[in-house]
C-alpha cells in the first residue's frame, strides 16, 4: 500500500469524519452555550447510548435508520425526564440534566454489557471515543481517483450521514438565525413577535439530538461533548457579534477536527513513537487547548492582553505623577 493510498483510505475518511462531526455539533452548541444549557449537549451525547442499544436489541442488527430512531427516541425521553425533574422535583436545570444523563448512560452501559451487543462495534470503548480509526474508505488509490464518481460508491456510510447532518446544521443555523437569536436573548419579547420560544427551543434540542446521534457513532461521546462547548466558547472570546461567533465556531470546529486528528496520527511517528495516539481524545484535547489559548490571548477579553493594558495604564499613571512631582 503506497503512502498516498494509505492516506486516502485510512486518514482522509477519519479526518473528514472528525471535521464534519465537530462542525455539526459546534453550530447548535453556540446557542446552547448562550442559553446556559451547555450541559444539554452533554446529556444528549450520553442518552444516545441506551437508545442505540435498545434499537440494536429490537432489530438484532446495526441498521442505521433503527439506530437513529432509537437515539432520537432516547433523546426525547431524556428531554421529557429533565422537564419532569425540574417541575416535580424542583431541581435546577443543571442538576436535572446531570441526573438524567448519568442515569440513562449507566442504564445503557448495563444493557450493553448484559445483552451481548458488544460484538457488533457496540461496546463501552466505542461509546466513549467512537470508531475514527476504523473508518475506512476502500475506494481511491491516488489523488486523481477523488474526481472519479466510482470511488464514492465505497464511501463509508457514516461519512455520508455526517456530511448530510453537518449541511443540515449550517442551513438551519442560517435560515433560523434571527429566531434562534431573539428567543435566546429575550424569550418574552420573542413571544410578542409571534415567535414561540418553546417551539424554537424544541427545534434547537432536536438539532442537538440529531448532531449528537450522527456524531456519536463516528467519533464517540468525548468529541461530541467537547464540540458542543469548546468552539462556541472559543469564538465568544474573540467577537461580540453573534453571526461572527457562529462562523468562527465553525472554523474552530473544523480546525480542531483536522488538527486533532493530525496530531494523533502523525505527531507520534514524527517524535519517534511507534504508536498513534487516540484520535478522538486528541481532537477533544485540541479543542480544549484552543479554548485555553483564546482565554489567555484574545485581544479584548484575554487574560494576558488585559493584564498588559492594565500594566501600561499603571505605568502611564506613575509617569504622569512623577512628571507632576518633578
Amino acid at each position: 500500500m503506497s503512502a498516498t493510498e494509505a492516506f486516502l483510505s485510512i486518514d482522509l475518511p477519519a479526518l473528514l469524519a472528525a471535521m464534519l462531526a465537530a462542525l455539526a455539533c459546534a453550530l447548535p452548541g453556540n446557542f446552547l452555550v448562550l442559553r446556559r444549557q451547555a450541559l444539554m449537549g452533554d446529556a444528549m451525547s450520553h442518552v444516545v447510548l441506551p437508545g442505540i442499544v435498545c434499537a440494536y436489541l429490537a432489530v438484532g442488527d446495526i441498521l442505521p435508520l433503527a439506530m437513529v430512531a432509537g437515539a432520537l427516541g432516547a433523546a426525547l425521553l431524556a428531554v421529557a425526564l429533565i422537564h419532569l425533574l425540574q417541575r416535580l422535583g424542583g431541581l435546577e436545570p443543571g442538576a436535572a440534566m446531570g441526573v438524567v444523563l448519568t442515569l440513562m448512560f449507566a442504564a445503557g452501559l448495563v444493557l450493553l454489557e448484559q445483552s451481548g451487543a458488544s460484538g457488533a462495534h457496540l461496546d463501552v470503548e466505542h461509546a466513549l471515543y467512537g470508531n475514527l480509526e476504523g473508518t475506512l474508505w476502500l475506494g481511491p488509490r491516488q489523488w486523481a481517483d477523488l474526481l472519479d464518481p466510482a470511488s464514492y460508491r465505497n464511501l463509508p456510510r457514516v461519512l455520508g450521514t455526517l456530511a448530510l447532518v453537518a449541511a443540515a446544521m449550517v442551513v438551519l443555523a442560517v435560515l433560523f438565525f434571527k429566531e434562534l437569536a431573539v428567543t435566546t436573548f429575550d424569550p418574552g419579547f420573542a413571544a410578542g413577535l409571534g415567535i414561540s420560544s418553546r417551539a424554537i427551543s424544541l427545534g434547537l434540542l432536536g438539532m442537538t439530538a440529531l448532531a449528537a446521534v450522527a456524531a456519536f457513532e463516528a467519533v464517540g461521546s468525548i468529541i461530541v461533548i467537547a464540540m458542543f462547548v469548546c468552539p462556541a466558547a472559543t469564538a465568544r472570546m474573540l467577537t461580540d457579534r453573534l453571526s461572527r461567533q457562529l462562523w468562527l465556531s465553525a472554523f474552530f470546529a473544523l480546525l480542531a477536527g483536522a488538527g486533532g486528528y493530525w496530531l494523533a496520527a502523525f505527531l507520534p511517528p514524527f517524535l519517534g513513537h511507534p504508536q498513534a495516539l487516540n484520535a478522538a481524545g486528541m481532537v477533544g484535547a485540541t479543542a480544549g487547548g484552543m479554548q485555553c489559548a483564546a482565554m489567555l490571548l484574545a485581544p479584548r477579553y484575554g487574560v494576558l492582553p488585559r493584564a498588559w493594558r492594565a500594566h501600561w495604564r499603571r505605568q502611564a499613571a506613575t509617569a504622569a505623577e512623577r512628571g507632576r512631582a518633578g
Binding site: 433560523f176 437569536a181 418574552g188 419579547f189 410578542g192 461580540d240 457579534r241
Partner: protein
C-alpha cells in the same frame, strides 16, 4: 366596574369597550394557586399615557405579562382595538425589565433594536441594509445613534434601557407596554424616555407604563391604574390619585400608608 366609573366627567366618555386600545374584564391571574390579580377591570383610552402603580407584589408586571399572553390567566377577557388580544399581538410592543435578559449576549445595540423589526422582516430572511437604517433611526430617537455598534454589555444601565425603548419603537406598534423603564436610570435617559412617551401620545399611541415613583407619576402620566392585587383606583390622574386610594393600595402590605408612599418616591 368601579374602575370604569372613575373617569373624569369633564372628559369625553370612554370609547365602547370593544374599540379601545386595551379593554380588560375580570382578569384573574395566579402563580401556583396563589392569586396575584383578582377580577381586574380596566379600559385604556386612546392616545393616553397610563401609569401602572402599586406596592411590590401588587401584580403590576403580572398585569402586563397577562396582557401579552406571557402569563396564563385563570379568568377574564382582554381585547385590543376591538379584537381578542391574542389576534392583535402585532399591534403591541413590550419593553421588559432591564434585568430580564443577559447583557453579555454577543449583540450590538443596533442588533437588539433590529429585533423589533423581525416581524416585518419575516421568518427565514436576513436583516437587510434597509432594516439596519430603520433601526438606526429608532436609536437616534432615543439619542443613542452614536452607540449603535457598541456591545450591549458595555452600555450603562440607562443606555440599555434606551436600547430597549428603541427596539419597541422599531416595532411601530399602537399599544406600548413598558415594565419600569425609569428604574435606576440617569437623568438624560429619564428625559429621553419622557420625550419618546410624549411623541408616542402625539401620534395617537397608548402607553401603559409600570412606574415606581409616585412623585413624578402625575407629571409624566395623565392616567392612573393603581393596583394592589386588584384595581384600587383607575382613571384620570387628578381624580384617581387620591390620598385615600394610595393609602388603601400601599397600606395592604405596609401598615403606615404615608411612609410607604414616601419610600416608594
Amino acid at each position: 366596574m368601579v374602575a370604569l366609573l372613575k373617569f373624569s366627567p369633564r372628559r369625553p366618555p370612554p370609547p365602547p369597550l370593544s374599540r379601545s386600545p386595551l379593554a380588560v374584564q375580570g382578569l384573574t391571574v395566579a402563580y401556583g394557586g396563589e392569586p396575584v390579580l383578582r377580577g381586574v377591570d380596566f379600559v385604556a383610552p386612546e392616545a393616553a399615557l397610563v401609569a401602572v402603580v402599586g406596592p411590590n407584589g401588587a401584580g403590576k408586571s403580572t398585569f402586563l405579562k397577562a396582557v401579552l399572553g406571557l402569563q396564563p390567566r385563570l379568568a377574564g377577557r382582554i381585547s385590543c382595538y376591538g379584537y381578542p388580544v391574542e389576534r392583535q399581538r402585532r399591534l403591541i410592543a413590550y419593553v421588559p425589565q432591564r434585568s430580564s435578559v443577559d447583557w453579555d449576549f454577543p449583540a450590538s445595540a443596533l442588533d437588539v433594536v433590529a429585533m423589533g423589526l423581525y416581524r416585518r422582516i419575516g421568518w427565514c430572511r436576513p436583516v437587510g441594509a434597509r432594516h439596519r437604517e430603520q433601526a438606526l433611526a429608532c436609536l437616534a430617537q432615543v439619542g443613542m445613534a452614536d452607540f449603535a455598534r457598541r456591545q450591549i454589555g458595555q452600555l450603562s444601565g440607562g443606555q440599555q434601557q434606551r436600547v430597549f425603548l428603541a427596539r419597541a419603537l422599531a416595532q411601530d406598534a399602537r399599544l406600548y407596554l413598558m415594565d419600569e423603564p425609569f428604574a435606576g436610570v440617569d437623568a438624560a435617559t429619564e428625559r429621553a424616555i419622557i420625550e419618546v412617551l410624549r411623541s408616542l401620545r402625539q401620534r395617537g399611541r397608548t402607553v401603559l407604563c409600570v412606574h415606581h415613583d409616585l412623585h413624578t407619576a402625575p407629571d409624566y402620566f395623565e392616567h392612573l391604574l393603581l393596583l394592589s392585587g386588584r384595581v384600587v383606583a383607575a382613571g384620570a390622574m387628578a381624580e384617581a390619585c387620591t390620598a385615600a386610594a394610595l393609602e388603601e393600595a400601599y397600606g395592604v402590605r405596609l401598615p403606615a400608608g404615608g411612609a410607604a408612599v414616601g419610600r416608594a418616591g
